[in-house]
């Protein structure tokens, strides 16, 4: 449970529309081929030996002839987990924008490599990336998403292309999980006389019924004003301050959806009514009749928010 049940926090930049995503894709493609940072190490025997062992490739030709297996192209320029020099590419901004748009899922769908020649021992390769297209949104089995495609070419020091790769990913929006919390077992019954209260707490308001005619405040609410018989009902959003009038510390028996011990209090509002709620953020042994409280809102499940009370200044 967190302090603010209403949102997960504001986004610093709003998500892009589909149209804006395509505009960004066009912009990134227009950058053309962008050179990256050269490989940290030249093509070398230890890396080739590790790679061959990992792949189970027993062909002796590579080491005999001093060349790297072509499929190792990516290996030479792959950033390590502690890379410090960020190798920017036109793909990065596109991926960030898709993530911000909620297309956080990723799955590689295509990888086509073209080999021009062997890379030789001692050569230091440099990658160059060209963003080549965005397609979507498309409905897929994984969810709605965009296909993003880019090409990488590895150059030797003589600017001769050694290998090329076309890479395509599906960036998709993961289906919303049905519930983020188990349904809270202690649900209130709600009808047309009481709905305003529960809608209020969902919006972070403590609403107390007030008679539209005589102004009498009343809690718990009901269909008529017992003072003037008016059925004209309104409500006041009260200050959210209160004083503890009485309380209990529940130990036994266990209560569904609750961890014992917990505190329930009768809170007297300065507006003149009493209301029942939990006293939270305070050890039970420090709870006292007369203590100042302020309302807080706790999300119990996807639907229910309960008003609770936390120690506060008078």
């Amino acid at each position: 449970m967190t302090g603010d049940p209403m949102t997960d926090g504001p986004m610093t930049d709003g998500p892009m529309t589909d149209e804006e995503l395509h505009e960004l894709a066009d912009k990134q493609a227009a950058l053309g081929e962008v050179r990256g940072v050269p490989a940290p190490d030249p093509v070398n025997i230890p890396m080739i030996r590790h790679w061959l062992a990992a792949m189970g490739d027993q062909n002796p030709a590579y080491l005999d002839k001093g060349v790297a297996p072509p499929a190792m192209a990516q290996v030479w320029t792959m950033q390590g987990p502690r890379a410090t020099a960020k190798d920017r590419s036109p793909v990065d901004d596109m991926m960030a924008a898709l993530n911000a748009g909620g297309y956080t899922g990723v799955v590689a769908t295509n990888c086509e490599q073209t080999y021009h020649r062997y890379a030789r021992l001692g050569e230091r390769l440099t990658p160059a990336t060209r963003f080549s297209g965005l397609a979507g949104p498309k409905r897929t089995a994984l969810g709605v998403g965009f296909f993003a495609t880019w090409n990488v070419t590895w150059y030797a020091e003589d600017d001769e292309p050694v290998a090329e790769m076309l890479f395509r990913v599906l960036k998709f929006r993961p289906p919303a999980r049905k519930t983020t919390k188990d349904p809270y077992p202690l649900q209130p019954a709600i009808n047309q006389d009481t709905a305003f209260f529960w809608e209020g707490v969902k919006e972070g308001e403590l609403r107390i019924q007030s008679c539209a005619d005589c102004g009498l405040l009343r809690h718990p609410p009901g269909p008529l004003c017992p003072h003037c018989r008016s059925t004209g009902r309104s409500h006041t959003v009260v200050s959210g301050r209160g004083t503890l009038y009485s309380y209990v510390v529940h130990h036994h028996p266990p209560v569904p959806g609750r961890e014992t011990p917990f505190v329930v209090g009768v809170v007297e509002l300065p507006e003149g009514v009493r209301i029942v709620g939990n006293v939270v953020d305070c050890p039970p042994e420090e709870v006292r009749i007369g203590m100042s409280l302020r309302v807080t809102y706790r999300r119990m499940d996807d639907e229910l928010v309960l008003p609770m009370w936390t120690p506060g200044e008078p």
Binding site: T194, H250, P256, V264
Partner: protein, 388 residues
């Protein structure tokens, strides 16, 4: 007027246990037949039946089992244990007005081995009925057991009058002392000390385990008839000198937290005023009081509301065994619900009848008038029964 026109002529009960091993209907039938035998009446004499609205045995089912035939009056009384004396009040009204001649009141349940009232029940708020809505201001916060509802009042009472947990404990000690010498009591021969009360675990602060009454299986039945007819029956009558029900302004079922100062029981005050007025008696005319004791704190509030002491003075009255058998006002000589059994207050009415008859296990001397109350914290009821 109702006063003096009707009487309780018979009482009957099953044994009090934690597991009766029998259906609730069977318990009801056994208690009803036992009460009729006690009165010297046959099932064919019965033409009226009253029970609690919470009882799971319909009047017609109990009538079928016991051979009771035509019924001209049947009624139910609401609000849990608050119904106890109300069943007798309804029966007395029916007899006094000629709606029925002989009315059986009963309460039967397997409250320990079956559905236990003290356990949380999330269905309390299942439907937007008036009660479901009322509960919805409390149950979502986990405030959903009778002990918790009562504890909220108890804490305020302590604050208002500087009362302590020991003050509540003296009620439990007295009840267990009385039960110790009542062979029908579950806690027969098992008295407790105040230290044991204080050491018992918290249920809902400020209530310890030993502030809470037990849970029981069992049944009690009573036969109400005219005072005149009762005098011709087997037993000496317990005359219904006064009977009353009471619900206060802003009343709720156990959670009347939104009115007054929360340190009293206005509905019991209302019952008391009616009882004194109808009977012409006053607290000093009462030899023993049967006060509903599902939780100890409300015994204090009742002593005050009924005028046995002033407001805030119950702790003083309780000191030095004030409500024990040899005290200023012996309360619940049978051990009450804390000591004898929890039959929703009906066993207390039977004890009042025994005290009038002079046949109680812990018989008090020269009992002329007994005051009986029903469930507290709910709309309630009361009786004054008299010898004669």
């Amino acid at each position: 007027m109702l006063s003096g026109r009707t009487a309780i002529a018979g009482i009957g009960a099953t044994e009090f246990s934690k597991k009766s091993g029998r259906s609730e209907l069977r318990l009801a039938a056994e208690a009803v037949l036992s009460a009729l035998d006690d009165a010297g009446l046959s099932p064919a004499d019965v033409d009226g039946m009253v029970t609690y609205s919470q009882d799971s045995n319909q009047e017609i089912a109990v009538a079928r089992e016991t051979g009771i035939g035509d019924l001209t009056f049947f009624s139910r009384v609401e609000y849990g244990g608050g119904a106890a004396c109300g069943t007798v009040a309804h029966a007395a009204m029916a007899v006094a007005t000629g709606m029925a001649r002989n009315v059986v009141c009963y309460r039967a349940f397997n409250e320990r081995s079956g559905r236990r009232f003290g356990q949380p029940n999330s269905r309390l708020t299942g439907e937007p009925t008036s009660q479901g809505l009322e509960m919805s201001w409390h149950v979502p916060f986990g405030l959903m057991t009778p002990a918790a509802w009562v504890a909220m009042f108890a804490r305020r009472y302590m604050h208002r009058y500087n009362a302590t947990s020991e003050d509540f404990g003296r009620v439990a000690v007295a009840m267990r002392r009385h039960a110790a010498t009542n062979p029908a009591a579950w806690f027969h021969q098992r008295p407790i000390t105040l230290e044991e009360h204080q050491a018992s675990r918290w249920i809902v602060e400020p209530l310890h385990l030993l502030d809470c009454c037990q849970e029981s299986d069992g049944a009690v039945a009573l036969v109400v008839t005219s005072a005149e007819r009762a005098r011709d029956l087997r037993r000496s009558p317990a005359v219904i000198t006064a009977a009353a029900q009471g619900s206060g302004a802003g009343q709720m079922m156990m959670t009347s937290y939104y009115r007054d100062d929360m340190s009293g029981l206005p509905e019991m005050s209302l019952v008391g005023r009616q009882l004194w007025e109808m009977s012409g008696l006053s607290p000093r005319d009462i030899q023993t009081a049967i006060l509903y004791d599902h939780f100890t704190p409300f015994v204090l509030a009742q002593l005050e509301e009924l005028g046995f002491c002033g407001r805030g003075e119950a702790p003083e009255l309780l000191k030095d065994g004030g409500i024990e058998l040899d005290g200023r006002l012996p309360v619940n000589p049978h051990g009450g619900q804390l000591g004898e059994a929890y039959i929703h207050g009906m066993n207390g009415i039977a004890e009042a009848v025994r005290q009038i008859r002079g046949t109680a296990a812990n018989q008090l001397p020269a009992v002329a008038h007994v005051l009986v109350t029903a469930g507290t914290g709910v709309p309630t009821s009361g009786l004054i029964l008299s010898a004669g």
